[in-house]
Symmetry: C2
């Protein structure tokens, strides 16, 4: 069975689980008929909007790709478990991801996400903070629901993995926001930022999948390593796409990572080389007209090669970890396919 077949089974179940969680949280609240009239669906309506349920025409792309829960369910299945047992945890990691997106959008003042207005843009910053807080609460609630079918010990262990990932997530976001305020950072400072922002939750998703599926601790750790390296490779490739992807040079150069002075890996590498790129970089503001020339300097300083080599090495590290995390199976094959798909995308 291929990834596509797993997706056809899993994606609808993930949506059902997420909807159940959001609906149940509303049912726990006191019903105030006069209020419903003017406050509408309240916070729960905001959550549904962010998750893409407000209109039947919202396509999967606009809902987000649900990569983390799929990773978790496949890791569970590949460890010999039944993926349906892991649904509360799969919903939890997706809710954590989306809570962090709601808050990130406020922090970055982003007006759009997946082609639609962000929650803060629609309901204001104050209510968007609040909507994120509720979503985070529901994530924590959902992971403990594993206790109902798998016992409290497993639920506590999964909850602890999720909490640790969230500590790293907030730390990664701290670094990302902090780096925007300083001119230069060493390349070594790049890794804890992406480990936190991307690696930690993917690692935790794969690891909880292994845990729920019955993998022993060594195999759970290999799943974590798989998720972590996958996340890092994904981020490095994202940085490469930002400068050399299909639309990076042909699209709007005003939005180039060079103009915004993003701390992306190729740029940090070239800055540390202190060669041609750096001589131009350190002195002046970067204008859209400079972009093509600077990309050329990045190439001649070896920054493109370094970035591609790094993505390749991380990908191999991820796939090796996966190979040792579980015996061959359809689900493991689907995980390889998922990893390949993420790492060979063109945009």
């Amino acid at each position: 069975m291929h990834l596509e077949s797993f997706l056809q089974q899993m994606l609808p179940e993930i949506e059902i689980e997420l909807k159940r969680i959001v609906d149940e949280s509303r049912q726990q609240l006191p019903s105030i008929p006069e209020l419903h009239q003017f406050a509408g669906d309240g916070l729960n309506g905001m959550l549904g909007y962010h998750l893409g349920w407000d209109s039947p025409n919202v396509i999967m792309e606009m809902k987000g790709k649900r990569i983390r829960p799929v990773l978790l369910l496949l890791a569970c299945q590949a460890s010999g478990g039944d993926w349906k047992a892991a649904l509360p945890a799969a919903a939890a990691v997706e809710l954590v991801h989306n809570f962090s997106l709601i808050h990130d959008d406020i922090q970055d003042k982003s007006p759009l996400r997946r082609g639609r207005a962000t929650v803060w843009k629609k309901w204001g910053e104050a209510q968007a903070i609040n909507a994120g807080d509720l979503m985070f609460t529901l994530a924590n609630q959902s992971v403990t629901r594993l206790a109902e079918t798998l016992g409290s010990d497993t639920a506590i262990r999964a909850a602890n993995l999720l909490h640790t990932a969230c500590i790293h997530l907030t730390h990664g976001q701290f670094l990302d926001l902090y780096y925007e305020t300083v001119d230069e950072i060493p390349m070594s400072a790049y890794w804890p930022m992406v480990e936190g922002k991307t690696g930690a939750l993917l690692a935790c998703s794969a690891q909880i999948g292994g845990l729920v599926g019955g993998a022993d601790e060594a195999c759970q750790n290999r799943f974590a390593e798989f998720g972590r390296c996958l996340g890092l490779a994904f981020q490095v490739q994202d940085d490469w796409l930002g400068l050399w992807g299909d639309t990076a040079l042909t699209g709007k150069p005003t939005e180039s990572d060079l103009v915004s002075r993003k701390k992306s890996l190729p740029i940090l590498y070239a800055v540390e080389q202190k060669q041609l790129f750096y001589q131009r970089w350190k002195h002046e503001e970067i204008l859209p007209a400079d972009v093509i020339g600077l990309v050329g300097l990045l190439e001649s300083d070896g920054a493109q090669q370094y970035t591609l080599d790094t993505a390749q090495a991380l990908t191999e590290q991820a796939l090796t970890a996966l190979e040792h995390a579980s015996p061959p199976s359809d689900a493991r094959l689907a995980l390889f396919e998922l990893a390949e798909g993420l790492l060979h995308r063109k945009s």
Copy 2:
């Protein structure tokens, strides 16, 4: 043993527990020496500042009164447990309370809390959102640590109580923010707001205390009722103090709840009476010079009496619940003392 003696033992232990949690979260993060130099204590430093640890001169008043953890520990002790076993849960409710304060201050744009600059005022909104998110994570992590000494089942039950309280907390905050955008709300809409903002976390604190102390489910529910009514009575009395307290009439009338058109209980009551107060209220902006006259109208419409009666009724409901929650003991006596102290404050 009186409340004061319990406080002398409990307050230092609560601080130690909170500090341990914040320190341990830092130790879980990768150490980057070059980074520490410029990013300082990062998010953890913000948490420490908010909790009042940045200077040895910060007095208890500035740290907040730690009412929720004390309530939890006393409920544990009154249920026949050892309050020290409940410290991870006590820290958790205090962290939830403080995470919500950090986010509330951003939402309300408040520059000051307890006489000091708020976290967002010092570090900006983006990092303050993030600091709140980390504190919320640590709260969730801490409550599950009950598993280490009391077993996973109790930890899961306590975590679920905390999550339910957080759902109510975000809903109460939603209503509070929402009410600011509408002219009139029915008095019935007041209660879900204060239940969420004040009642839910106090209820959960007392209930978790009972749970950890070994109370049966009926007694746990009575503790919850005690905490809930205590919270509501506290809020109603706060509304009374806002209009009739020592400084309400003699202080700055520009800051009166009347000028800000706060949806406080006496005002909502008088609006529903549609008598003298309402005739004046519905038409015009309230100026500082109108405050004394309007307070007089509230009194003649019976709003002061209604508010005092409601606070009294809720207080009695709280104390009756407490009486049935546990057998007489020093700790129960201290809980009565705590309740009386909260409800008979003058400012």
